[in-house]
């Protein structure tokens, strides 16, 4: 597609439920990143995928968070047993290459997750 697409744009869930957030990157972009942004804060790195390499999961805050990227394209971020502190905007980005020496990232519009 023309841009990075994320769905849903908004999600309200009850505490303890599982949620899945989807990211469809720009076609041909080999690198995909997930960040989250709490209200009024900067972006917190969660995980990134580069081609067929093992993902860098070093930013995942707990084992309730997991992500996969199928076929090197679409990615799903799953949060199990959601907690109120998980409420944030989850942003996905993609880029042509892992090292952004020439290009910046292209971000999606994000999924605003609210845990009640």
């Amino acid at each position: 597609g023309a841009g990075v697409s994320q769905s849903p744009s908004n999600k309200v869930t009850e505490k303890g439920k599982d949620v899945e957030l989807r990211c469809d990157p720009i076609s041909g972009h080999t690198a995909l990143y997930w960040y989250r942004q709490s209200l009024g804060q900067g972006l917190e790195f969660l995980i990134y995928f580069q081609g067929n390499s093992a993902p860098d999961k070093s930013g995942l805050p707990s084992d309730r968070f997991s992500a996969e990227r199928t076929g090197g394209s679409v990615s799903t971020l799953t949060i199990q047993r959601t907690q109120q502190e998980d409420s944030a905007v989850y942003l996905c980005a993609s880029s042509l290459v892992r090292q952004t020496s020439n290009y910046g990232y292209t971000f999606g519009s994000g999924t605003r997750l609210t845990v009640v």
């Binding site: 900067g42 790195f45 070093s58 980005a93 090292q99 990232y105 994000g110």
Partner: protein
């Protein structure tokens, strides 16, 4: 710990004035990038400056980089009400291994710019 720190946290100016935002960082970098965010949603890439560059221009944007001081500035000239947004600097440290990598781009908390018509 936060790699990039923007200064000021908030800036309010009149349309037509110039806006200057600063970013300081702690570690060696491959490049530094500035992004813009409207209404807490997706970020838009504005400009990238490599570690061996000192200044870069793009339209009304001017970015400087001082690697000796580990700082960068973003200047928006002749600001418009439509420039109202949050601006983030992000550092690419991908060529340096700091262990416990936070990913390729490490973002600051941003400067909230308000341009009044």
């Amino acid at each position: 710990s936060q790699q990039g720190e923007e200064d000021p946290q908030a800036l309010s100016i009149q349309e037509g004035e110039n806006a200057t935002m600063n970013c300081s960082y702690k570690t060696s970098i491959n490049n530094l990038q500035w992004y813009r965010q409207n209404s807490g949603r997706g970020l838009v890439h504005l400009i990238l400056i490599r570690s061996n560059e000192r200044e870069k221009h793009s339209g009304r944007l001017r970015v400087t980089l001082d690697t000796s001081k580990k700082s960068s500035s973003l200047l928006i000239t002749a600001s418009r009400a439509a420039d109202t947004a949050s601006y983030f600097c992000a550092t690419d440290v991908s060529e340096w291994n700091y262990g416990g990598s936070q990913g390729n781009l490490i973002f600051g908390k941003g400067t909230k710019l308000s341009v009044k018509p």
